[in-house]
């Protein structure tokens, strides 16, 4: 369909977005701040809880099992503050330009960087989706659910949400599912944490058993990689645009991101605390390969209920990430190809968008079911791609957030440039270091 045709008639996408905007404006005119926040929340919470995905929760559990409650508790909170700073820029970019991140890179910096970003995102997302289905399969295995059934259930749920052809419905379904990320909180309570020790850890960033070592550096960098990844930048900006957020909504967009970061940080710290009994009881987790191993090992300390909550949390983490990551791929493809890219679009109008979302999910799920598939290699490659190639994504984010020709008065201020720039540099350096350490583990002494 040509651009002229699309402009000539009000289409489904515009009508549904106008309906959502009508509700927002009504809540605003009636002076209902909570209703306004309820309607405008979504992209920020989803991106943060989407990044609390299967591999990330395993990373936090590993941290708790190796280091217990100590240095890493405040460190994880800090990583989410960093994530908030990065993601807040995408809110402003989406609101100011009404365009996704991939489209802005393509248009403003040319096809080389446009295609590079797209391929980087596409490859990283497909591989990450595979790890999400590995998590779903592993979590389901704890309950004795066969892998084909678990994976099919995951596919069905993701496709059902997409099939609504309604952004708001998809977003609410994903938010409802994402609430189960907090299952790690009761699991942590069942570990009977040392509250005084938790308070001391938050205040003093200690203890750090074993001091600074190769294992410490790897986990530190892995936890940064578990909090900020390229797909998050692309997803939140596209979702802000698809939701139809405007300049009046910028405060709610920021609150949404902040609330998402706070909930995700709480779930991440809870996962660390839930796994801390493995540290206290000197359980070696080096051979653990997934969520089911952690749930089984934690059963003597959390009870069957606590271990079940842990396994359910891993399944939820994989499902929400599968929804958000597949959407981010579909958005980016549509943005680069300049085809319809909205969860409000009809199937025919948005066929490239829906085909991309469905195909990426089905492909990833099928890979997990292939006997002897190189899942270990895929998991490692995901970590390396997400961390090594984070630097270009962050640099473009910072450049775009300063591009006054397109972002206007919402551009970074000098202070936010120094603050955001420092965080971008820190994340980029840590990500690069993690990628290099993963590829060349002998570079740092044991």
């Amino acid at each position: 369909m040509s651009g002229v045709d699309a402009a000539a008639r009000p289409d489904r996408e515009d009508q549904l977005r106008a309906l959502d905007r009508g509700r927002v404006e009504k809540a605003r005119s009636l002076g209902r701040p909570f209703a306004l926040f309820f309607l405008l929340a979504g992209p920020g919470i989803l991106v943060m809880l989407g990044e609390n995905d299967g591999p990330s929760m395993i990373s936090y559990a590993t941290t708790g099992a190796i280091y217990g409650i100590g240095f890493f508790v405040p460190f994880i909170v800090l990583t989410f503050l960093m994530a908030f700073t990065v993601q807040e820029m995408t809110v402003r970019l989406g609101i100011a330009t009404r365009r996704g991140h991939a489209e802005l890179i393509f248009d403003r910096f040319g096809p080389f960087w446009g295609y590079f970003s797209m391929i980087d995102l596409a490859v990283g997302n497909v591989l990450t989706l595979i790890t999400e289905f590995i998590a779903i399969r592993a979590g389901a295995a704890f309950f004795g659910i066969p892998a084909p059934l678990a994976v099919s259930g995951g596919i069905a749920l993701v496709l059902f949400a997409i099939s609504m052809r309604r952004y708001f419905t998809w977003e609410r379904a994903a938010l409802a599912l994402a609430a189960f990320n907090l299952l790690f909180v009761p699991a942590a309570l069942m570990a009977h944490p040392d509250w005084a020790g938790l308070g001391r850890a938050l205040g003093t960033w200690s203890p750090l058993p074993g001091g600074v070592s190769a294992s410490f550096m790897t986990l530190l960098l892995a936890d940064v990689g578990a909090t900020v990844t390229p797909w998050m930048i692309f997803f939140q900006q596209s979702a802000v645009v698809d939701k139809g957020m405007g300049r009046k909504d910028i405060a709610q967009g920021r609150y949404d991101t902040l609330v998402g970061a706070a909930i995700a940080a709480a779930a991440a710290v809870a996962t660390l605390i839930a796994a801390a009994p493995l540290f206290t009881n000197h359980i070696n987790v080096a051979s653990f390969s997934g969520g089911a191993d952690f749930a089984t090992a934690l059963q003597p300390y959390l009870g069957h209920a606590g271990a079940s909550l842990f396994a359910l949390g891993i399944i939820e983490a994989g499902l929400v990430a599968a929804m958000t990551i597949s959407a981010s791929s579909a958005y980016a493809l549509g943005e680069v190809l300049h085809t319809r890219h909205s969860l409000n679009a009809g199937f025919l109008d948005g066929k490239e968008f829906y085909i991309c979302a469905v195909a990426s999910v089905v492909f990833a799920a099928l890979i997990v079911l292939i006997p002897n598939a190189p899942l270990l290699a895929i998991t490692l490659a995901v970590n390396v791609i997400a961390t090594l190639l984070m630097a270009p994504a962050l640099v473009f984010l910072l450049l775009l957030a300063n591009d006054r020709e397109i972002i206007g008065s919402l551009a970074n201020s000098a202070r936010s440039n120094w603050f955001g720039g420092a965080i971008v540099v820190a994340i980029a350096l840590m990500g690069t270091a993690y990628g290099v350490i993963t590829v060349f583990p002998d570079l740092i002494p044991k």
Partner: protein, 70 residues
């Protein structure tokens, strides 16, 4: 300066206070390329070199892990 602060239309082709018009058709109109200063050009070349090093590292990591897994 044609930014929204000036009260006109920015390069996205819309006035910042205009919320009622169609969003979807506008997305088919590409933005113009950004005029890049020398600092950004140098940064992008550094980034190109970084990418040329990083991509083989990713491929190497995958192949090595693939062989270790079999």
């Amino acid at each position: 300066m044609t930014g929204p602060e000036a009260g006109g239309r920015d390069q996205t082709g819309r006035n910042e206070t205009d919320m009622s018009d169609s969003w979807s058709h506008r997305l088919r109109e590409p933005l113009p390329r950004r005029a890049l200063g020398p600092g950004i050009l140098v940064l992008l070349w550094v980034l190109r070199v970084y990418v040329m090093v990083a991509v083989p590292l990713v491929v190497y990591a995958f192949i090595r892990a693939f062989h270790q897994g079999h």
